[in-house]
């Protein structure tokens, strides 16, 4: 990994990605057209991040509706039909509209900077990939207003509930997923082309920062599985509109085929949502522990192993669907295997901390919380892997607890850590430390109050996706709902910190964090619109 000598003077363009005009493009459009047509990786990164934050709040509002109804037993606020739309849209928006675009935004901003490239390999494709998303999600959100309502069959949209018994808007839901899928595939192609071709001279693969590695591997996963999703939803489209029977037993098809195809996409998808998080945390912890990442090579191997194994475990989402015994055993064994490389990564982070010199700036707070809380999510995942026990966990709140732990204090905290870490580079200011600390502690309390009780309500017998529940689950749900309201409200602090930071704050130098390595810290803060127009000389540290 790079420990750069004093940064060479970089030809300055007097602009920042966050505002101001560039001198280097005299006819460059301004205002709305600028953002519509930009091919600059920094501006596109910003667009992705703003889009993702907006989606995060929309998906969050849906979650608040869910938790408000679940605050007490009985049906007080919404009808079950609408409740099912809220749970479905919450999942779809968070997965496809918040988490994935946030990681793409961070990749757009940071991958070229970290490898010393002037931009992504395919800048116009980059622009197109972004603008597909607002189209896709306007379409998706508009289904809520269509006759019959929006998708109401869970974010996993199993057939035949999502085909024969689905509302008329389902065809639009399918179209929106196709559009979002194309965006992901094109983005992934761009990432791979950039990383393989545009590294600074002297930067070999095993010199790349871990964030770049994890994104490289994630991009391959995306290219492998998004087409499978496209295939499944097209088969749905055919069943709904053209009289085919892919998932209809009466016509010779099989509803379980849907599940196999969906989860063959779906399981790599959840690794797509976490590998970049691993990369972010692997950058932040060494910086604030002032110590090199322990076991860089094994972190790369572990990431690759996780990616390969992720194709071999999909049916652990289907343990109760009636698989043959041999299949059940195969998937149980593979799922247990995948825990090993994941655990190894956690050990590596902790060993990086051991005998380091640790400080607790906001990015570090979120990264440390990630390590603890993601690991707890990993433990519940290990329990779920035990197939016979899964017969009692499947489709209960125990599963909801598991995936929310790995996604919220997992992926989302890592994204926020990355934002706090790189805001000085983007804006030239440090984020407001006090507010960020409040955001952190309220979020940690909120997230645990919301999701920890769900382990218990699941074990006690509460199924998923229900708007009303039996009395023995009441206390757990009360606490969860209060936690959810706290967590939701705390995210307003995050918006405040980001907005304030864009506008002003304590000035940050190029090397904003004392012990940060990697190439992005060699360019000024805020990073000029164009960086590394001449490739930097990259010197790797002595082994």
């Amino acid at each position: 990994m790079a420990t750069n000598p004093a940064p060479k003077p970089v030809p300055q363009h007097a602009s920042t990605a966050a505002g101001g005009l560039a001198e280097a493009h005299p006819e460059r459009p301004s205002g709305l057209l600028r953002w519509l047509l930009t091919t600059n990786h920094k501006e596109i990164g910003t667009l992705y991040l703003i889009f993702s934050l907006t989606m995060f709040f929309i998906g969050g509002v849906f979650a608040m509706v869910v938790r408000a109804e679940l605050f007490q037993p009985g049906l007080q606020l919404v009808q079950p039909e609408f409740f099912n739309q809220m749970t479905t849209m919450h999942g779809l928006i968070m997965v496809f509209g918040a988490v994935m675009p946030a990681f793409v935004g961070l990749a757009n901003w940071m991958v070229p900077l970290q490898i010393g490239a002037p931009d992504m390999a395919l800048p116009r494709l980059n622009n197109f990939s972004f603008w597909l998303l607002p189209v896709a999600f306007t379409l998706l959100l508009s289904t809520l207003l269509m006759p019959g309502g929006g998708p109401n069959f869970g974010w996993t949209f199993y057939a035949p509930l999502s085909t024969t018994y689905a509302p008329p808007s389902t065809t639009f839901f399918i179209l929106s997923l196709h559009i979002a899928g194309i965006s992901s595939i094109l983005g992934a192609i761009n990432i791979i082309a950039t990383i393989l071709n545009l590294r600074a001279p002297g930067m070999r693969m095993m010199d790349m920062p871990l964030f770049v590695w994890t994104w490289l591997i994630t991009a391959f996963l995306l290219i492998a599985v998004m087409p499978v999703l496209a295939g499944v939803v097209t088969m749905m489209l055919m069943d709904i509109n053209f009289g085919t029977s892919f998932f209809n037993a009466a016509g010779g098809g099989d509803p379980v085929l849907f599940q196999h195809l969906f989860w063959f996409f779906g399981h790599p998808e959840v690794y797509i949502m976490i590998l970049p998080a691993f990369g972010i945390v692997s950058a932040i912890i060494p910086t604030f522990a002032r110590k090199r990442l322990f076991g860089y090579a094994s972190m790369v191997y572990a990431t690759a192993a996780i990616a390969i194994l992720s194709f071999l475990v999909w049916a652990h989402h289907m343990f109760v669907v009636g698989l043959p015994l041999v299949a059940e055993l195969f998937f149980m064994y593979c799922t247990m295997l995948i825990a090993v490389p994941t655990g190894v990564k956690v050990f590596n982070w902790i060993t990086t901390l051991f005998r380091g010199s640790i400080s607790f700036e906001p990015p570090m707070l979120f990264a440390l919380a990630f390590v603890v809380l993601f690991t707890i999510g990993g433990f519940s995942g290990l329990m779920l892997a035990i197939a016979p026990a899964d017969f009692q966990y499947h489709d209960t709140y125990f599963v909801v607890a598991h995936f929310h732990y790995v996604l919220v204090p997992g992926a989302v905290f890592a994204i926020m850590a990355g934002v706090y870490y790189w805001l000085p580079k983007w804006t030239g200011h440090y984020p407001h430390e006090r507010l960020a600390q409040w955001h952190f502690w309220l979020s940690v309390v909120g997230v645990n109050l919301t999701f920890f009780p769900m382990h218990f309500s699941g074990l006690a017998g509460m199924p998923r996706r229900i708007p009303d529940y039996a009395l023995q689950f009441a206390d757990f749900n009360l606490v969860s709902s209060l936690g959810a309201f706290l967590f939701g409200a705390s995210q307003l602090l995050f918006v405040a910190v980001v907005v304030l930071c864009v506008r002003g704050g304590r000035q940050a130098p190029a090397q904003a964090w004392e012990h940060a390595e990697d190439l992005e810290w060699s360019v000024p803060s805020p990073a000029p619109l164009h960086t590394f127009e001449t490739p930097p000389t990259f010197e790797r540290p002595a082994h």
Partner: protein
Amino acid sequence: MRTLLVWLAGGLSLAGSIQVAMANGWNMPVGVTELSGNIHSLHMTIFWICVAIGVVVFGVMFYSLFRYRHAKGAKAANFHENIVVEVVWTAIPLLILIGMAVPATATLKQMYDASEADLDILVTGQQWRWRYDYLGEDVAFTSNLGTPRAQIRGEEAFGENYLLEVDEPLVVPVNRKVRFLFTSDDVIHSWWVPDLAVKQDSVPGFINENWVRIDEPGVYRGQCAELCGKDHAFMPIVVHAMEEEAFDTWLADRRAAASQEAQGIDREWAMDELMERGEQVYTAVCVSCHQEDGSGNPPAFPALAGNQALLDDRDRHIDTVVDGVSGAAMPAFRSTLNPVEIAAVITYERNAWGNDSGDSVQPSEIAERLSD
């Protein structure tokens, strides 16, 4: 040393409180079958393994965060690779997992062996109720949510078994191997009773198999565990496990009642009999969509009260209940309800809530209609 003791005390009291909590509705039940006990043991084993790993891992982590604070002037060490340590911490989890895989495999094989059962029951998931068919015994019935809608709406106080009660429970014998066959008439449902550790998806067009041998008589409650539409939360399961002799008696009585009901198809039913039976069926089966007062929830669920088009077309009313409405939410009840129930509920609908048509439908008419 003192810090160590403090940590130990803290850890033990945490473990202790976990134990207490787990015994009081916070944990998976041990259940009433040998398999449910095995599953509970597997669950507890993997749980404690996770706790142990967590204690070690988080222990090292929090120790490091405290001991190696920059603010206290800690100087970073310079190591970043150690082959022995890395091999050990990869090998140990691998061995632990292989160790867990062995009992897990054994339990799974047990779960999959449904051979040589004493009793076979076909469980059919429907939107939004369960149907039970005692194969070869001439006993079949549907099991609907028993909780009054008024409780759900908050107009009445919650009953003790809110959302976990039905109008007719599944009755099974203890100490006999009962095999379940699962299927569905519409979407995927899932039949789950935690105390029996039986959960299996009901897939339309396919048959899944599972089994149970219950050790203790009692009443065991569960719920549908696969999103199946608007009333997914409102189709519970109640299993009443009886001593073998009591079960045999129950089965014989139920068979007799069923055949009596079947005989009832041929005779003439009086209006008040039809209305009484019809109200029972309506409350159990129809209220979730059409409401107690027949007002429905248009346009998805039409009103029945004051529905002139329906009252003017008796044949269409019968067709709707028997064959459902294609492309809409109204299912066909021809295989869910028997001719007496169908005739009664249609009679009730045509006369309740001020409809007062004076019409009645005889079970024999429905029986003939069904044989078309």
